[in-house]
Symmetry: C2
Subunit: 116 residues, 2 copies
Amino acid sequence: MNDEGVVGVAGLLDRATAQTYASWFRALADPTRVQIVEYLARQAQAMSVGEIVAAIGLAQSTVSQHLKILTEVRFVLVEPVGTARHYRINDACVDCFPSAADVVMGRPAPSPNGTC
Amino acid sequence: MNDEGVVGVAGLLDRATAQTYASWFRALADPTRVQIVEYLARQAQAMSVGEIVAAIGLAQSTVSQHLKILTEVRFVLVEPVGTARHYRINDACVDCFPSAADVVMGRPAPSPNGTC
DNA sequence: ATCGTTCATCGCCGATAGGCGATTAAGCCT
DNA sequence: AGGCTTAATCGCCTATCGGCGATGAACGAT
């Protein structure tokens, strides 16, 4: 992303990286989305929208909108199954999102990330 | 926070915890704030608003507003020094924020957190 | 007391977010 | 074809965000 290690000479995090990280954090800036992601992360198999709606307890349109936001940043992946759609966590993000949190907190991530 | 490990029987993350985490993520949902936090995290000593304004390149009122948001979630701590104010990273958050990211991604944090 | 410096706060703006009901679209099944 | 189920999209609402200039408050120095 940047040969200098994502940090410019002035000691400021690369703007593009900051924007990417901010988009990830914004995707989780809502308690409902935090619950959805954490819920999906602990499920062995993918879940339908109906199941997620039942677990969350908000309107179907609302949950669908949250799922759209989560898929746009690829925290969550979709697969159409008949008339339903199965949502599951993106395992790549399970690794690289917490390491982004480390970077922001001043701990350069040692692991080879770039998958996300 | 919850004897069952922050996760209810239905397999949903505790709403209060989700709200707290969401407020943390919302504080970093802007690229400028991501840059400010990462910048402060790599500084040995606290920085004045003027120095941060110079580094960021936005209006003083804008930076001040961002700093207010970051202090409200205690990612950043303030100390008045004469007519200036020195901002620095909250070391406790350096530990507990990435572990919150782990929790959301389905990895229960093993470390004893509760400092934040 | 007055000025200069440093920073927070206010008011305004356009843009975005989050919730909902209603509607549309896409598959399945008779 | 017709109806049923599932889920995305649309439109509307209010609320919050992010940017800015201008103003105000606190302090040090003269």
